[in-house]
């Protein structure tokens, strides 16, 4: 198992050719100036350009490092040749890479020759997984591990295919199946289980950066219907929807004349949306970038988003290619698809509108009266102030208002620019009268200014009619080119202290004369009160008659087709030439397939889904989910600096297999799990550890820690609490939620703390692969969390026996599917003997916390 904080997942030296190494050095150290920008007229990003060189001649003499100007510049040892790069010189290792490469004749593989950009080789006759691996192992002199024992295999298969441990009955059935082909039968059973889709759907949701909310810049916008997309993914996998169709539906399900595919467009409709986090142009460009990134890395293993600001440094993707793809998403819109008949939608919207209007009417009534009342009380301000000093002559004043004035005057002096004398102790009627007169004047001035500003702002808006493009996002959010409408128009205000005095008495929520809406009715006369009751009642009735909103899908739709202009240096405000929508030429036989029908989304979907890279990436991800590591260990990057498979033919054949078997994911899984390679023991071996410690050649299976979800689900399974229903709305992931973790709310804004602790990836971007960490905070969860304590109590109840030996055995069978060893019996007995009333729960907690429970061999 890999610990990702230790390793950069990339091509190691063993798997890259010398020109790749040199290319990487040049890219890292030289291309900032000497690629697209061609500083000093010199480019170092193709062999031809290097041979041509700059004004001072060729940069390269193949086979002769000492005569190559490039080498002289980086060696910094030839007078008259400018030392390069400016700043930190190349390391000795870097220099050697370049030197060796030139000495070897400076081979420069044509980009088009990169293995992953080739057409898929057809499936070889009689292809099987194991012979290919066996040949490779023999060549390395590596002995393969024997098959794992049956118990291990059953656990491995259950967790890998369903994300759940077998129940006691399930385990016994498989374990006691003495006939030939027991494993194939078990595999078929598990592939047919509804839990298969839950486990494999979750794998895809990592790639799909599935989240159920976004942050708008001021608030969290929840997506309460997001689960419909999640359920579609689960059911697509359960039904073994062909993988090409699976991809197409998610990119263009709205254009495929099959309503059952519509939920799939949640891949685009569920964001991430960046709303008002930055100016609209920037936020919309960032959203398109997310789509380009998710599609190209997630589905094709090509890092096209690297070309947002400049041509790709390693792969043949130009900046134009990036904007050509981004244009497809600019030409697509967010759309909500109601799941009820139009009439019902109209009815709900009508009712909602009526509620909103009634609420508005009520609030306006209360606010108008509140303002009127405040003005009518202004001539009594002096009396209220004096009432706070001596209440006796003010018995007629409403106590609630006197109370508000008391609170107001209890604020420190700095809040009261005109009450210095009062705070100095002169709490006299004269002071109060003067303050009252001042406030009445300010109130009039404020009213006049408001009226004047209103006229001025309206006039300014008319005078400067802005052409505003509106894009609607989830939650009815409208994104317009103008970021903060109206805020650009200057207005007038009061002098500071006068405004503060107004605000503190009439304006802010705690101001004594800013009557809260709920307080206003008390001060109304009888007819007004009757009117208020009428309005309030109407609102209440309408609210009661408003059902919860109908379900709808957050999906994609066509928008005005638009070819984007190149964003210079990735800046959406710095526009270059228009780029017609097309598929990257390097990935479409050099032609740059046009994506011009409508948004181009349908063409994109078809091209992506049937691309050789899509099949390779999918086969690799399936392998990764069954081995913990892909054949290519950069599953979202098959480009030049991505990893190379150790046994290239294996991945190639699996990908072809996927295509010829009608894109059946289940068939591919079946083929892999029935191979010897999958079934090997995960134990180490002297020879294996010495020659191939990373297990690139598959001499063993990999031991894996359960991911966050199966870990939680396994605890619920063994405690007998698991609710196995499939699908439905998400719920807060509490300790008592008995549903599978998949059904917990998945927030982008505030990821679940426990799941994050167990390495659930952030849902902000498409996830290449999960990492595995092992930290004390995880152990605090085992020690003290409500969740583990509940599970332990439940398990404790299930296994408790008067005969402790039998109880211990029951616990081992339930949690670990095996009998305890005599030593484990003895340890258990000693523990139970020394523990009190809660002994069984405490014992269960230990076993739930054990490595054996969390790791699959």
């Amino acid at each position: 198992m890999r610990r990702l904080w230790l390793i950069p997942v990339l091509a190691s030296a063993a798997y890259s050719a010398p020109d790749d190494a040199a290319r990487q050095v040049l890219a890292a150290r030289c291309w900032a100036c000497h690629a697209q920008t061609a500083v000093g007229g010199l480019r170092l990003d193709s062999r031809a350009a290097m041979l041509q060189g700059g004004p001072s001649g060729p940069a390269l003499v193949p086979g002769d490092p000492s005569r190559s100007r490039l080498m002289q510049a980086i060696r910094r040892d030839v007078p008259g040749v400018k030392a390069m790069p400016p700043g930190a010189p190349l390391t000795e290792a870097e220099r050697r890479v370049v030197e060796d490469w030139i000495a070897a004749g400076a081979p420069w593989k044509d980009d088009a020759a990169h293995w992953a950009f080739q057409p898929l080789r057809p499936e070889a006759a009689g292809f099987a997984i194991d012979p290919l691996i066996t040949t490779a192992l023999r060549a390395k002199g590596l002995p393969a591990n024997p098959a794992a024992d049956r118990r291990t295999l059953i656990r491995r298969l259950y967790f890998d295919l369903t994300g759940l441990p077998p129940t006691a009955t399930e385990f016994a059935t498989a374990f006691n199946d003495a006939s030939e082909g027991w494993l194939a039968r078990l595999t078929d059973r598990l592939l047919a289980s509804p839990h298969f889709g839950e486990q494999w759907g979750r794998h895809w949701l990592d790639v799909a950066r599935y989240g159920e909310d976004d942050y708008s810049g001021t608030a969290v916008i929840p997506y309460p219907n997001a689960w419909r997309y999640r359920d579609w993914v689960v059911s697509a996998l359960n039904q073994d929807l062909p993988y090409d169709r699976f991809l197409m539906a998610q990119l263009a399900g709205d254009l495929m004349n099959d309503p059952a595919l519509l939920p799939a467009t949640g891949l685009l409709g569920l964001g991430p949306w960046y709303y008002g986090i930055a100016q609209p142009a920037q936020s919309r460009a960032d959203e398109r970038n997310d789509r380009v990134d998710m599609v190209t890395r997630g589905m094709l293993g090509v890092t096209v988003a690297c070309a947002r600001c400049h041509d790709h440094k390693y792969d043949p993707i130009s900046q134009k290619d990036y904007y050509a793809l981004a244009g497809v998403f600019a030409s697509s819109a967010y759309k909500e698809y109601p799941l009820v008949p139009d009439a019902q939608v109209a009815d709900w919207k009508g009712r909602k509108k009526a509620v909103d209007e009634a609420e508005k009417a009520l609030n306006k009534f209360l606010d108008d009266h509140g303002t009127r009342l405040a003005e009518s009380y202004a001539p009594q301000i002096s009396r209220y102030m004096m009432a706070t000093v001596d209440p006796s002559p003010a018995k007629d004043l409403p106590p609630k208002l006197v109370e508000r004035w008391k609170k107001y005057l209890a604020q420190p002096e700095e809040f009261h620019p005109f009450l210095k004398a009062w705070f100095d102790g002169r709490k006299t009627s004269a002071e109060a009268d003067a303050f009252q007169t001042l406030l009445i004047g300010i109130l009039a001035e404020k009213k006049a200014l408001d009226a004047e500003n209103k006229v001025a702002v309206e006039a300014a808006k008319k005078l400067e009619p802005r052409v505003i493009k509106t894009i609607t996002l989830p939650g009815g959010y409208r994104s317009e080119e103008d970021f903060n409408p109206g805020a650009y128009i200057a207005a007038k205000s009061l002098e500071r202290d006068r405004f503060v005095a107004w605000n503190r008495t009439f304006g802010e929520a705690s101001a004594p004369l800013k009557l809260p809406r709920e307080l206003v009715p008390e001060f109304l006369d009888a007819p007004q009160k009757a009117e208020h009751r009428k309005l309030a009642q109407r609102l209440a009735e309408l609210k009661k008659a408003l059902p919860p909103q109908y379900g709808f899908l957050q999906g994609a739709a066509e928008f005005e087709p638009e070819d984007l202009r190149l964003n210079l240096r990735g800046n959406p405000e710095a526009l270059g030439d228009v780029v017609p929508r097309h598929f990257p030429p390097a990935l479409s036989g050099g032609t740059g397939l046009p994506l011009q029908q409508g948004s181009g989304r349908m063409q994109l979907a078809e091209t992506v889904a049937h691309h050789p890279l899509a099949a390779r990436v999918a086969a690799n991800r399936v392998w990764m989910s069954l081995f913990g590591q892909g054949l290519v260990r950069t599953p979202s990057n098959f480009g030049r600096v991505g990893d190379r498979p150790a046994i290239p033919e294996l991945l190639e054949q699996l990908a072809s297999r996927l295509v010829t078997h009608k894109y059946s994911i289940k068939a591919l899984i079946r083929e892999i799990v029935l191979s010897d390679a999958y079934q090997r023991s995960s134990a180490g071996s002297r020879a294996g550890d010495a020659v191939d410690p990373d297990n690139r050649y598959l001499w063993r299976q990999n031991r894996r820690r359960l991911e966050a979800e199966p870990l939680r689900d396994a605890m619920l399974t063994v405690s007998g609490e698991l609710d196995r229903r499939v699908g439905g709305a998400s719920a807060p992931l509490t300790a008592s939620l008995p549903r599978r973790t998949l059904y917990g709310k998945t927030s982008r804004f505030q990821p679940d703390e426990t799941l994050s602790l167990f390495d659930l990836p952030a849902a902000a971007v498409t996830c290449e692969q999960r990492v595995v960490t092992n930290v004390p905070l995880q152990k605090l969860f085992y020690l003290n969390s409500d969740a583990v304590h509940r599970r332990a109590a439940a398990v404790g109840k299930l296994v408790a026996r008067r005969n402790r030996e039998k109880g211990i055995a029951a616990a081992y069978r339930l949690l670990l599917h095996r009998e305890p060893t005599p030593r484990e019996q003895a340890l258990g007995l000693a523990f139970l003997g020394r523990s009190g009333a809660n002994a069984w729960a405490q014992y269960a907690q230990v076993l739930l916390s054990s490595n054996e429970f969390a790791y699959v061999d």
Binding site: P8, N453, Y488
Partner: protein, 472 residues
């Protein structure tokens, strides 16, 4: 061969790639003591194990105070006599575009005076910090891209304006690990939640355990601060459980030799057990003397600064403190609110600096008094009748102050124009500040990279220059 693209800071260089851990241990056992072996095992299995920086560090930790909302520089650390002189007049040549409409130039209502030996001018809003100005470098030429909170908060925290990149603290965890075995290495404090929230301390594509541990410290009870820290059983009973667990796990590991993860898991449980007693103590500011609490001030920022000090004393690598819920420093309407904000911040920051000095920790602790951007020298006067005594966002120029950790104190770096609108002399971007902070911690910002999906990512993207002039 040491390929440049595979230079990754976190590779344990002492382990030969071809050796398994077990082999390495046995081959090296002759030459190393047991502790070296344990250290090596730890480096391989514990993501938080202290790691060797690129070069000798000047600082070991950071306390990053964020005046969230946008602290006005022309009222605090950037005196502008011309602004006073031209008060009420239009900005010559027009004002740059900010979020909202602004009117005429608006002099600071606060007085500046030279402070300390160095005579750096500080506003009357920071009397005690002013008294310690000889410990600070005031950077008066900060600028950032966007005059909105969210992108600017993202920028100084993660080096980009959108979610999805690791934060400074996460990079430190990745590059240096933590010196505390019993506390999280990167702690974020806010009495409430700043705008944007958790993406600001996200580890993004770095391992999730490197993310900031967020503590909403409106609570002072440490048991309410840290998830699952309260022992749910008597420690003696837990110990009995852990003894059993350890035996079972050791048997399990013995049957699977050479798997360091299994051993790391055993170790992590022991650490967790210790944390239950040690962490609450560290997080409990009620253990401080009442005089100390009073010195920091009876305020949220006071309590946060005091807690920050307790945490760095115990080896926490980075503590980030947000002043308050949402964005208290977003003073669009009334700049006099600064009296209250600074009135609380001044004693808190000054006491923090004093305490660090007293413990001889200021020399290797970087204290940043930062913010996401500054505010306009012109008064804001947009659209409705509101109070026009405030300032709009200003991303073109602002100030931050940095103390300790090998920074040259009593200095001013860079300058804005005559009115404080734009960084003019030696402009400094948050990338430069981050590069400098990493540099002081012994990390080369250009080399602290993580290979993710086909390219090497850095905190400073492809930018950032270490501000050598401000280094002592």
């Amino acid at each position: 061969m040491n390929l440049p693209m595979s230079t990754n800071h976190a590779i344990p260089a002492q382990v030969h790639p071809r050796w398994t851990r077990r082999e390495a241990l046995s081959r090296l056992a002759g030459g190393f003591g047991l502790s070296a072996l344990a250290g090596m095992l730890e480096a391989e299995t514990n993501p938080f194990a202290p790691k060797t920086p690129h070069f000798a560090p000047k600082a070991k930790r950071i306390i990053y105070l964020v005046m969230n909302g946008g602290m006005s520089h022309v009222d605090t650390f950037d005196p502008k006599p011309q602004l006073t002189r031209y008060n009420g007049q239009p900005m010559p040549g027009g004002a740059p575009k900010t979020e909202r409409s602004t009117g005429n130039l608006f002099a600071s209502p606060f007085k500046f005076s030279p402070r300390g030996q160095s005579g750096v001018e500080v506003s009357e809003l920071f009397p005690r910090v002013g008294g310690l100005i000889d410990d600070f470098c005031v950077i008066r030429s900060m600028w950032t891209e966007v005059p909105n909170h969210e992108p600017s908060l993202f920028m100084f925290n993660t080096g980009t304006i959108q979610p999805g990149r690791p934060s400074l603290g996460s990079w430190l965890m990745y590059g240096l690990g933590s010196e505390s075995r019993d506390l999280p290495g990167f702690v974020v404090l806010c009495p409430g939640m700043p705008v944007v929230g958790s993406p600001l301390w996200s580890s993004a594509f770095l391992p999730a355990v490197f993310q900031g541990t967020f503590l909403k410290n409106t609570e002072t009870d440490p048991y309410k601060l840290i998830q699952n820290i309260r022992a749910q059983a008597p420690l003696s009973a837990q110990r009995r459980q852990l003894d059993l667990l350890k035996q079972l796990n050791q048997d399990h590991a013995a049957a699977r030799p050479g798997d360091s993860q299994l051993e790391a898991s055993i170790e992590a449980m022991e650490t967790a057990f210790r944390m239950q007693t040690e962490a609450p103590e560290a997080f409990d500011i009620r253990k401080e003397k009442p005089e100390t609490l009073a010195r920091y001030g009876d305020s949220e920022i006071g309590r946060s600064c005091l807690l920050a000090r307790r945490l760095v004393e115990r080896g926490v690598r980075m503590v980030q403190v947000y002043y308050g819920n949402s964005q208290p420093w977003d003073n669009h309407e009334d700049i006099l609110v600064l009296k209250r904000l600074c009135g609380r911040t001044d004693p808190a920051v000054a006491s923090l600096i004093e305490d660090l000095k007293e413990r001889d920790m200021l020399r290797d602790t970087l204290v940043v008094l930062g913010t996401e951007f500054g505010r306009t020298p012109a008064v804001e006067n947009g659209s409705s009748t509101r109070l026009h005594y405030g300032r709009d966002h200003n991303s073109y120029g602002y100030s931050i102050a940095v103390a300790g950790g090998g920074i040259k104190g009593g200095t001013v770096y860079g300058a804005t124009d005559d009115f404080g609108y734009r960084a003019q002399d030696k402009p400094v971007h948050p990338h430069d500040v981050n590069a400098t902070l990493l540099h002081q911690l012994g990390l080369d910002h250009a080399k602290l990279t993580h290979r993710y999906s086909g390219r090497d990512f850095r905190l400073t993207d492809v930018h950032g220059t270490v501000l050598r002039e401000i280094l002592a």
